[in-house]
Symmetry: C2
Subunit: 387 residues, 2 copies
């Protein structure tokens, strides 16, 4: 186990009916919120009204800032920063999924900043402070509601980059599983893929420091995610299954499963970010295309890790590690197919001719993230296995 610092102060309010508390919680941090949201689903499913009622009761003024989209973009973040400054909001409230929360984080960091907000993503400047952030979660996958990270795409150069700083860790997040009842099958499946990807990035990185404790937690969480996803696709309004997935999403990427694992690389995310930066595919859908290919590539170097996953999660019985790894990866790929998430570039409507540009884009990110073994050639090799 490597040395680590674990600190995760976000206050989680979990369960049916918790949204009504958001006003009281927000009131501890300010009196005028910038309400960041997406394109309207929260108005259709009633969440917006619940949030507004609670804020109103707490005497909080609201400045609406809708329009955050899947794969959120820098230009929209800049608009939010301008609006927040102009209106003098003192709290940022995200009502949405990872894209909305990440937009809120970037805005919260940008408002008090002296530099341009993109400098934080380029790691040119450090975030010194941010407006307090609260969230009401409506899509559960990113764990952004309980972590200090955000991912934004700069349309100039299609660069999908990230920040990670305690200043943008949400103060309070409200997770009501009933909100997920209206999430469609495709996005429910993509969420599950994303949750699993987060956990496996840690599981497969830095195997020298792998510990049975961390491995066991990931395996237990993966089991719960797969089981509850199956239930959700049959019964979208199954509360227990939605609740299990919602909390698993948080536990899978709030620092818990990687504490002690050293610095976690995110090679699968690195390749996927290029896919979705260039083709605007849903993040989870991009991941289910990349993961089996990357795992096949990586298992050649270290079959034992992949064999462990195969045996513990997919009950593979092969005694040879390379064979077990292969069967495990195939089981995961088949599971992606079963839940309806794409596993080839073609299924994701990404032309093979795009591989060169995707590899170029991913390589630029690999350099920002310090993933040294990923040359453009290696990334091209992985991408050409995505079929």
């Amino acid at each position: 186990m490597q040395n680590f610092i674990f600190e995760n102060p976000t206050r989680i309010l979990f369960g049916k009916g918790q949204i009504k508390r958001i006003g009281t919680e927000a009131r501890r941090y300010g009196t005028k919120v910038l309400l960041v949201c997406g394109s309207g689903s929260i108005k259709r499913n009633g969440v917006y009204n619940q949030v507004m009622a609670s804020l109103g009761e707490a005497g909080i003024a609201v400045v609406d800032f809708p329009g955050a989209r899947s794969n959120p973009v820098l230009s929209h973040v800049r608009m939010g920063i301008d609006l927040a400054r102009q209106e003098g909001t003192d709290v940022v409230l995200a009502v949405g999924g990872g894209s909305v929360i990440d937009t809120a984080k970037a805005i919260a960091a940008g408002v008090p900043a002296e530099c341009d907000v993109w400098d934080f993503f380029l790691r040119k400047s450090a975030i010194k402070r941010a407006l307090p952030i609260l969230t009401v979660v409506t899509v559960s996958a990113s764990a952004s509601e309980m972590n200090p990270a955000a991912v934004i795409t700069n349309e100039d150069g299609a660069r999908k980059y990230s920040i990670r700083d305690m200043a943008v860790q949400p103060k309070v997040s409200v997770l009501d599983p009933t909100v997920l009842f209206s999430l469609d099958k495709a996005y429910s499946a993509y969420s599950a893929v994303d949750i699993i990807a987060h956990m496996l990035e840690g599981y497969f990185t830095n195997t020298a420091t792998a510990s049975d404790l961390q491995d066991g937690m990931v395996e237990a969480l993966m089991h719960s995610v797969m089981e509850s996803t199956g239930t959700i696709l049959r019964e979208p309004e199954n509360y227990e299954a939605r609740a299990t997935l919602m909390w698993s999403a948080v536990l899978g990427f709030n620092g818990l499963t990687t504490a002690g694992m050293g610095i976690v690389g995110f090679p699968m995310h690195m390749v996927e970010h290029a896919l979705s930066a260039l083709y605007d595919i849903a993040h989870g859908a991009g991941l289910s295309i990349v993961m089996p290919a990357w795992m096949t590539w990586a298992a050649r170097r270290n079959p034992a890790r992949f064999a462990r996953l195969a045996r513990r999660v997919f009950h593979v019985e092969a005694t040879d590690d390379a064979e077990a790894a292969r069967e495990g990866i195939e089981s995961l790929r088949k599971w992606f197919v079963a839940i309806g998430s794409p596993v080839t570039l073609a299924e994701g409507k990404i032309p093979e001719g795009g591989i060169d540009a995707i590899a170029e884009n991913a390589f630029a990110l690999a350099q920002v993230w310090g993933l040294k073994e990923y040359s453009k050639e290696v990334i091209t090799e992985i991408l050409s296995m995505c079929r």
Copy 2:
């Protein structure tokens, strides 16, 4: 899954060499610490000197308050409150295990209180504020370093009672597994018993809301605890095993495994508190006596839960739940024997004639904790199975 609030802001610094940071961390909260510790082991193993050097470098004044003992007592807490008030310390630093940390928490709550500190334990008054608490952990079991609970024994009536309030949640805890190298075999074993007991109290309570997610985490943690304890007893200086146990102790009782499980009862702890209040036996040793008896008693009512544990953790193959439960409990009892923790009252040097007084004492606590099904007769029945 039940509704829940999860909030655990303690900053954990984990690993070799982290103690040297305690001065800088403490300096964020004050300039004069009350250093609460035990009877001298931290002087023998060098931890005291490391802490003093770090505090000195950070320019922090220190008021020593040694003498906290296993099963810490109220009279000692009161002395600490008087000393802290007299010296005007603004931070409480616990350097020790659960007993020391719990003493520090009670002192921290007592210093600014207008009522008597024991009123908090009787639930007559609510803790409004407390001095900031930091900890350097030297015995790893209670998870007190990352939770808001403390247990203190009032010698008047031998009442071993508890508090639970975010005001006494430590701000910062330093966990250096090398500190545990000098912990003897008996206390290493008792620590493991205590960690497992914490997790199983949740696992066995309120089974209506049991979730595969929480169950899976507990089972994974239990596996790690049992495996690493075996290693520690053979190789006391095995870093990985000490680290695994140290972090498992925290994860097993920092709220994580019980989030969503509803209100957790602590019947095994309730009975054990009476044992150790009256006979001053080590807490873990008391638990290994009580647990198999309580489990046997409780499994009659709900064999399925005990059968699940038996199958998942002890690989019991019996298909009948009652039989599987029985085999699982027997496996756990044998494991306690194997690690050298007592499993009968006689082994704990507790006379059978003491059962009546223990039951009386435990019954009083059951009433404070609201454990309604535990009459004196029921507790007597459980105690008479501890042989």
